[in-house]
């Protein structure tokens, strides 16, 4: 069974600082997703990483994927308060036939303090 581990689960950082969230997964997959969730809200798609070495950037967030190490990172540059949210990574796994499903990590609750 696929296991997806995120760390840290809680992250409190100051505005202007940099930090990285890590996502490890246990079985082979070539597709990894990052989502943002504000309290009580939906899951907002941030990045879809489809191949080894994929790197995507949007604003202060940059995500990368190393399929050989089964590791994805979400790097935050010069954090601002608006980035405070829970960030989930999710791994797309093949379940037979033409079926895939997302398995989520536990999420990282990010709080950016002034």
């Amino acid at each position: 069974e696929l296991k997806v581990e995120q760390n840290p689960l809680f992250l409190s950082m100051q505005e202007g600082k940099n930090y990285t969230i890590y996502c490890n997964y246990s079985t082979t997959s070539d597709r990894l997703y990052w989502y943002r969730q504000d309290p009580g809200k939906s899951l907002e798609s941030l990045f879809v990483l489809l191949s080894n070495g994929a790197v995507k950037q949007e604003g202060r967030l940059m995500a990368s994927l190393d399929t050989k190490a089964r590791l994805s990172t979400l790097h935050i540059t010069a954090a601002v308060h608006d980035l405070s949210a829970t960030y989930f990574c999710a791994v797309d796994s093949f379940t037979g036939g033409s079926n895939y499903k997302l398995t989520f990590g536990k999420g990282t609750l990010l709080t950016v303090n002034p």
Binding site: S42, S45, V48, F88, S98, N99, Y100, K101, L102
Partner: protein, 114 residues
């Protein structure tokens, strides 16, 4: 742009009652997923449909059933509700089940069982 529409947004039911959640995927999307997210938890995969056929099943209780209709909307039926069924239920849609395209989530339906 059109998003995934879920209804109702909030629902309060008593134990042992029945609830039905509806999901209208993004136009042209043929794949629908249902996820359950308990308070402070990561989303858990329940069931998915591709072209109106059930494609995969996750940790969905036998008391729950779902289907996808000819217009691609989906309904999740939950019977004999238990307190532990209280959660945020997400529907998501994508174009194809394994294309690596972004999976878009709806706003969710809050179910409270009292």
């Amino acid at each position: 742009a059109a998003g995934v529409i879920q209804s109702p947004r909030h629902l309060i039911k008593e134990k042992r009652e029945t609830a039905t959640l509806k999901c209208y995927p993004i136009p042209r999307h043929d794949t629908v997923y249902w996820y359950q997210q308990g308070p402070g938890q990561d989303p858990q995969f329940l069931i998915s449909f591709y072209e109106k056929m059930q494609s995969d099943k996750g940790s969905i209780p036998d008391r729950f059933s779902a289907q996808q209709f000819s217009d691609y909307h989906s309904e999740l039926n939950m019977s004999s509700l238990e307190l532990g069924d209280s959660a945020l239920y997400f529907c998501a849609s994508s174009l194809g089940p394994h294309s690596g395209n972004t999976i878009y989530f709806g706003e969710g339906s809050w179910l409270t069982v009292v």
